[in-house]
């Protein structure tokens, strides 16, 4: 598989604190990379650098061989653990938001046929994540699991080259987390996504990922612990059946939607 994202000798430093030290990675298109590691090992920092929220102090990040500007853009979608849906918009409007931004950069609103097309697309996406019956709810009316489904739909509608998930299921109950695992696996396969996921849950990392990266510090100076940063100490490709292209994502959705009791 071709390389989608490359990190070349990436360092991230805040003042004299080194957070990430010399990370060099190639991430193939269509892979599901899990990043694990102890707290403070720079997992989220690495994700933020790929996202463009922070710039690397040294090193290059290439997407499709092109240098990535240090700003967030629609080619990289993101789902955070919390706060990544807009509380003032209904589920449907949250999802349409991405389309409106692209098509109406000044007013942020669509009208007429373009609006109907955007709504239809959003409805399809919401049905795919199992929120087909909750389109007019506000996020505050939904459980954490439903909010994360919404956050995924919201990002996915932009068809990002890479999906970045920052502990997306960390705040959910175990049962709901299992449902979300099934959902993300299906979406990853159906939409042929490339996913990078930071997680604390090692089991989750190995179940979902096709490749697991463990971040930690290689060296430790007890007198100046901040002077050595973390890097990918283990890089484990997992042998898994290659993702099969889905026949018809829409018809498949009906059988897989999990939210039978409307409680997740």
């Amino acid at each position: 598989m071709s390389t989608l994202l490359s990190l070349r000798n990436v360092w991230v430093e805040y003042g004299d604190k080194v957070v990430i030290e010399d990370v060099t990675l190639d991430i193939a298109a269509g892979s599901f990379v899990s990043i694990i590691g102890p707290s403070g090992a720079g997992k989220s920092t690495l994700l933020r650098v790929i996202l463009g929220q922070d710039a690397p102090t040294r090193g290059l990040i290439l997407l499709d061989g092109k240098l990535l500007p240090p700003e967030c853009g629609p080619d990289r979608g993101v789902v955070f653990q919390r706060y990544s849906v807009f509380p003032h918009l209904s589920v449907l409007k949250n999802t349409v938001f991405g389309l409106e931004c692209a098509q109406a950069p000044f007013t942020g609103r669509l009208f007429g046929a373009r609006r109907r097309a955007a709504i239809a697309e959003a409805e399809e996406m919401l049905a795919a994540v199992g929120l087909g019956d909750s389109m007019h709810l506000y996020p505050a009316e939904m459980s954490g699991g439903m909010q994360q489904r919404l956050a995924i739909a919201q990002a996915l509608i932009k068809r990002p080259r890479i999906m970045l998930l920052d502990e997306p299921f960390g705040a959910l109950d175990p049962g709901i987390r299992a449902d979300m695992h099934a959902l993300i696996t299906r979406l990853w396969r159906d939409y042929e996504l490339t996913i990078i996921m930071v997680t604390h849950d090692i089991k989750e990392a190995f179940t979902l990922g096709t490749r697991v990266l463990a971040m930690d510090k290689r060296r430790h100076d007890p007198h100046a612990p901040h002077r050595y940063g973390a890097t990918a100490v283990y890089d484990l490709p997992l042998k898994k059946p290659a993702p099969e292209p889905a026949l018809d994502p829409i018809s498949e959705n009906i059988s897989i939607t999990i939210d039978t009791y409307n409680n997740n």
């Binding site: 706060y83 938001f97 409106e100 931004c101 942020g108």
Partner: protein, 257 residues
């Protein structure tokens, strides 16, 4: 309805105190009986003033509400525009934040003379006092609210293709709106204080002007109904603001789970 009980008790206490004073002195002016109030007020309500030809009570109410409305309107607009800019754009905050803070800590009544000198004794100075009195607080409140929006939301909007303008228009502005209504509600009290002060010092019409005018004649039979009327107007405004916020921004009022 339970809340009406203390109010009823207060009215009852007043009536009893007034009745006992009138038993000693039938001409008592300090605690007038309801009959006397009705009589005094009916002159202001229904009889045109000989000098100006106006129904004084309604002219007072209209003048005061106009000043209050202008003051609140200008303040709200300032709070929305300046507060949003201060909250959303760190360079703007760094440049103008200290100025807003400095203006906010000046006691507005202290600069009332400046306003009278600068704008004359007309409407402008009175409206300006209300604006200077409440706008800085509202601006700071909105700015703080916008600053406190979760970083994740802004990042998410950017990854969905929103530029800085759209982040402001579609993410910050709508979430600032319920807060703005809240800020107006909290500013209503101070706004009335500044209005009455300005009217008391230099005016020829207005609720505050009338209260301070008839004070010279110890006319409690007019002062008390006027104060009650002001209270009623204030409560009504508060109720309308709360209702409209609930209606317009249901997401901000803990919609049922």
């Amino acid at each position: 309805m339970l809340g009406a009980l203390p109010i009823a008790l207060l009215v009852l206490t007043y009536l009893m105190a007034a009745a006992s004073r009138h038993e000693i002195n039938p001409n008592d002016k300090i605690l007038p009986l309801p009959g006397a109030m009705a009589e005094a007020m009916s002159a202001l309500l229904f009889k045109a003033d000989q000098l100006s030809g106006q129904l004084l009570f309604w002219a007072d109410t209209f003048a005061s509400l106009q000043r209050l409305g202008l003051g609140l309107g200008i303040s709200t607009l300032c709070a929305l525009v300046v507060g949003l800019l201060l909250g959303a754009l760190p360079p703007v905050r760094a440049t103008f934040g200290p100025l807003v803070t400095a203006v906010a800590v000046i006691p507005p009544i202290a600069i009332l003379p400046i306003l009278f000198i600068a704008f004359g004794l007309g409407e402008t100075a009175k409206v300006a006092l209300i604006v200077i009195g409440i706008a800085p607080f509202m601006i700071r409140d909105i700015a703080a609210h916008v600053t406190a929006l979760p970083r994740e939301q802004i990042i998410k909007a950017q990854t969905l293709g929103a530029n800085s303008w759209l982040v402001m228009l579609r993410v910050a502005l709508p979430q600032a709106m319920p807060r703005l209504i809240q800020a107006i509600r909290l500013s209503l009290g101070p706004a009335w204080v500044f209005l009455i002060s300005a009217e008391a010092i230099a005016s020829d019409v207005g609720l505050g002007y009338r209260i301070f005018l008839v004070r010279r004649y110890l006319s409690m039979d007019i002062i008390l109904p006027y104060v009650a009327w002001i209270a009623l107007l204030a409560v009504l405004m508060d109720w309308v603001l709360t209702r409209s916020s609930r209606r317009l921004f249901p997401w901000a009022h803990g919609v049922g789970h």
